[in-house]
């Protein structure tokens, strides 16, 4: 049974509380309206694909739109925990929203499984026994890009990211693995759409490659302008700017670019093949990275529910930690801080007919754990 | 003879090529009504604005009570005791008549160094209310005290303008066409009132109603194209050939 929106809170009071004792209630807060809605829609669709396929009538999912506003995410979380008494929460896309919601949610005894954001604080000092990250720690894809740059023999990178915490983490992550020189390091304005000035600096810098982290529309703008500028240094980026959802908007400008990801649709395992086919059949588009993360999150929850009731927190937690489900990434396991230890691949943007997509060309990091695990006392 | 309350020395103000004030000098002595007349566009309003502080002159000097106020703003001049009424009503239209008068009383209190309260209900402040009611009574607006200002007739608004000026207990008045829109009986009443008022403080009066001007004014200055062409008593002005020429065909001097 699924209820997409709980309409009037006031009416749904006591009756549910009685009937719900055998049910597991999952609260999903994600971004479904405004500029960043594409990511939330994918996470939701991937998640619900798995839930519906399981066909369990004792799992109920409540979905709410956070409008990408931390304040409204916090309030929805309060409502889900206090009023709808959810057992498990998930869905948040952005690190700043996760930082606003997760600590309070886990402190109130709710499990939180992150399908996307992985801020370093939650992986390190502020890790929590009820917090699991199913996607990655924020630095991971950037670290893989740094490692790939070494493998590819790049010696003089120009790196840029927006001037906000995730941007700084990204460049820090890249530099952690990368061994060469830096031709330049630029922080751009958050939400910037014109990169002519930065591209001119890249041109003048004498770099042999470019690494950038510019999520969403910023990345589209950068890539189009870069392709048009005549600068033809190799570009490396994290998967976010080459993901299925926005790749069509970038178009041919992205062809051939290397990007790092823990998942791709051509990873060859039964779960992934079925996932890609089912997702396309149901929604009429190729699944994205975010959809795969939503799908894995749901399957992890379902696998744990098969072993333990969520009301038995210790048993349920142990079942989550075991992570015995068929991940579309292949092997999947958690580190001590409940973040994935996984392979991160290098992909290349290709064209299949009319559609732009990725194929895996190398493995950037193998069984990689994040840099903050040692700070977590768990 | 006592010193003038207001002295204007060689005031000049141009707007582009237009000389709105061209070397204007005049004064206002205690106890007198000094009327300023002239055809439309002669620069009367511009002159009044410079005296009250709303416009800065290009050259010249203005003294109030012997002090040079040329560089002071409207507020400072008002606090020195310059009470002004406007040609185009500038009252707070959403307020009641009484509230407008209380505002004036408040200004007077502030000028004496009092503070504006943040908590006490100003409409229950008896000292302010007394001043306000007294001024309203003097211009005959007492019965309309609770009316909304926007609902007043034009004539009543002029009366209220005068009443607000009265609450300030000014040392001199600047009145810009207080008779306009009053009707025959109204102007007659106001004429009588101003006649008495001059003993409280002298009045620089800009007025189109020539009956009132010649009935009231101790002295009259005639402004034409920004220049004072004559100053003198009513009789002197009536017979001045230059004035007659300037007014020929404009208005009949009686």
């Amino acid at each position: 049974m699924k209820i997409l929106k709980s309409l009037a809170v006031a009416t749904a009071v006591s009756t549910l509380a009685l009937a719900a004792h055998a049910e597991t209630k999952i609260g999903m807060i994600t971004t479904l309206s405004g500029g960043g809605a594409g990511l939330g829609v994918d996470v939701r669709d991937g998640f619900m694909l798995a839930i519906e396929a399981a066909g369990r009538d004792d799992v109920e999912v409540v979905i709410e739109d956070d409008q990408r506003k931390p304040e409204s995410a916090v309030q929805i979380a309060d409502r889900m925990i206090q009023s709808e008494k959810v057992d498990i929460m998930t869905g948040i896309i952005w690190s700043n929203l996760a930082m606003a919601v997760v600590p309070a949610a886990t402190a109130q005894g709710v499990f939180y499984l992150s399908p996307n954001a992985g801020p370093s604080a939650l992986a390190g000092k502020r890790c929590h026994k009820n917090y699991f990250n199913v996607a990655w720690q924020n630095d991971n894809l950037h670290e893989a890009a740094g490692a790939y740059a070494n493998d590819a023999g790049l010696k003089n990178s120009f790196i840029l990211a927006p001037n906000y915490p995730a941007g700084k983490d990204a460049l820090t992550g890249y530099k952690r693995m990368y061994g060469g020189e830096l031709a330049g390091e630029i922080y751009t304005k958050l939400g910037q759409t014109d990169y002519a000035a930065e591209i001119a600096q890249i041109r003048a810098s004498g770099a042999d490659s470019v690494y950038f982290f510019l999520p969403g529309g910023m990345g589209i703008s950068f890539l189009k302008q870069y392709a048009d500028s005549g600068v033809d240094l190799p570009v490396v980026g994290p998967a976010f700017s080459f993901d299925q959802g926005i790749l069509q908007a970038v178009g041919a400008a992205a062809l051939g670019i290397k990007n790092t990801s823990q998942w791709n649709k051509d990873i060859d395992n039964a779960a992934n093949v079925a996932f890609v086919a089912d997702f396309q059949a149901k929604y009429g588009r190729l699944p994205s990275l975010y959809a795969s993360q939503g799908f894995d999150t749901a399957n992890l929850i379902l696998s744990a529910l098969d072993k333990a009731d969520v009301s038995d927190q210790d048993a349920f937690r142990a079942a989550l930690e075991a992570a015995e489900f068929d991940s579309v990434r292949g092997d999947f396991k958690f580190g001590n801080n409940h973040h994935p230890v996984q392979n991160i691949y290098v992909r290349e943007v290709i064209q299949e007919g009319d559609v732009f997509t990725n194929k895996i060309i190398a493995t950037g990091l193998t069984n990689h754990a994040d840099a903050y695990a040692s700070e977590c006392n768990m | 003879m006592t010193d003038p309350v207001l002295q204007v020395h060689n005031l000049c103000k141009s707007f582009g090529a237009l000389k709105a004030s061209n070397d204007v000098s005049l004064d206002l002595r205690p106890g007198e009504i000094h009327a300023l007349i002239g055809p439309n566009g002669a620069g009367k309003s511009t002159l009044i604005k410079q005296i009250s502080g709303g416009l800065t002159p290009d050259a010249g000097r203005i003294e109030v009570l012997g002090r040079d106020v040329t560089a002071l703003d409207t507020v400072a001049r008002a606090r020195m005791g310059l009470g002004r009424t406007f040609q185009i009503s500038s009252l707070a239209m959403e307020f009641s008549v009484l509230q407008n008068a209380v505002l004036g009383a408040l200004g007077a209190r502030r000028a004496r160094g009092g503070r504006l309260g943040l908590f006490r209900n100003v409409m229950k402040d008896t000292a302010l209310l007394d001043t306000a009611h007294e001024s309203l009574a003097r211009v005959g607006l007492e019965t309309a005290a609770q009316a909304r200002t926007a609902d007043l007739s034009h004539g009543q608004r002029r009366q209220l303008e005068v009443a607000v000026a009265l609450t300030l207990k000014p040392r001199l008045f600047l009145m810009d066409e207080p008779m306009a829109g009053l009707g025959a009986s109204g102007s007659k009443e106001l004429t009588g009132f101003l006649d008495d008022l001059r003993r409280e403080a002298p009045i620089l009066l800009v007025e189109h109603d020539m009956d009132a001007v010649f009935a009231l004014a101790d002295r009259i200055s005639v402004l034409v194209y920004g220049t004072v062409i004559a100053t003198g008593t009513a009789d002197e002005i009536r017979t001045n050939p230059e004035v007659r020429r300037a007014y020929l065909g404009e208005e009949e001097l009686t």
């Binding site: 304040e71 206090q82 690190s95 930082m99 915490p165 304005k189 | 309260g117």
Partner: protein, 327 residues
């Protein structure tokens, strides 16, 4: 006057009754919603002093809302992490005591309002709207890149701050705190509107010339109003951050300024209880429409539009008619 007074009392009672009822039903989230209404109404009451009474259309009040929020976030995070905020002239380790946080929030936002107001009030009309917007944007971009306090990620504090004698984590008790502050502020705003200062400020909105002619300085009146207005909005910001146990640059964005302004206009500009009505209706709409469609903002937009075009004077104006003169 009589009718509006009855209406106002009914609004306050409703704001009090809904969470009490929800408390009885054990529906803490409704209490949280009511708390949000009370806090946003407080921010609106602050803006309304500048906007309604003073006629100062500030599109930068998010600056004060955010400063209040950051005052809370900074004091509380230092207290939680045992990192001294400063050690000279005396050692100060931050604080998790609400009264002290409120004091700092009020002082900090008042100081900011003094500076921003003194510069902005040199302009008027559309230019004033835009220069206040510019100051808000400056602070917004500053907060985004101020990594010491979380930048874009914002600052999360894990537990709500403390209030002597109360358990603020209990929704109904925290609601009581905000409700009392709202009531006190409404009382203060009512006194202010009737005071000599309020009369002069309101006159300055209607006719600048008039106020100058009676010897009062409009600039000083407006600056004072702007400072009081900013301080109240700052206090609301501190409470809002405490409600969410979180502060981020979003509080400083121009959307926040727009929303606070919408509360005021929706309820009725210059109406004492306008912001309360506006905030309550806005929050209610947000939650009811949010359940109907993913595209609920279209409906919100249409409703707002209809309100502006056909219900002049805001909701209270539409319900109760033209405001009578203060007396």
């Amino acid at each position: 006057m009589g009718r509006e007074r009855v209406f106002n009392a009914a609004m306050l009672l409703a704001l009090l009754a809904v969470p009490l009822f929800a408390w009885g039903l054990d529906e803490p989230f409704i209490i949280t919603l009511a708390t949000k209404v009370a806090i946003l109404a407080l921010a609106g009451v602050g803006l309304n002093i500048a906007l309604g009474l003073g006629g100062l259309v500030s599109l930068g009040h998010a600056a004060f809302f955010g400063i209040g929020g950051y005052a809370m976030g900074i004091l509380a995070s230092h207290a939680q992490n045992y990192e001294p905020l400063f050690s000279w002239p005396f050692l100060f380790e931050g604080s998790n005591q609400m009264p002290l946080i409120w004091l700092v929030a009020v002082l900090a936002s008042a100081a900011a309002a003094l500076v921003i107001g003194a510069l902005s009030l040199r302009t008027s009309g559309v230019y004033f709207i835009m220069i206040t917007l510019a100051f808000g944007q400056m602070l917004y971009y500053f907060a985004i890149s101020w990594s010491a306090y979380g930048g874009e990620d914002g600052l999360s504090i894990w537990v709500r701050n403390e209030m002597p004698g109360l358990n603020t984590l209990d929704p109904i008790q925290f609601f009581a705190v905000t409700f009392v502050i709202l009531c006190l502020t409404l009382w203060f705003a009512a006194r202010l509107a009737q005071s000599a200062f309020g009369l002069a400020l309101s006159a300055a909105r209607q006719s600048q010339e008039r106020v100058e002619t009676v010897g009062l300085t409009p600039f000083k009146l407006r600056l004072m109003a702007f400072v009081i207005s900013g301080a109240i909005t700052g206090l609301a910001g501190a409470l809002f951050a405490d409600l969410n146990r979180f502060v981020s640059p979003t509080m400083l964005s121009w959307h926040t300024s727009g929303e606070i302004m919408i509360f005021v206009i929706l309820g009725g500009v210059g109406r004492l209880y306008g912001p309360l009505v506006g905030a309550a209706v806005y929050i209610l709409l947000e939650h009811l429409l949010g359940g109907i469609s993913e595209y609920w903002q279209i409906f919100l937009g249409l409703l707002l539009l209809g309100m502006v075009l056909f219900a002049r004077g805001g909701l209270i104006g539409a319900l109760l008619g033209r405001e009578v003169a203060h007396d």
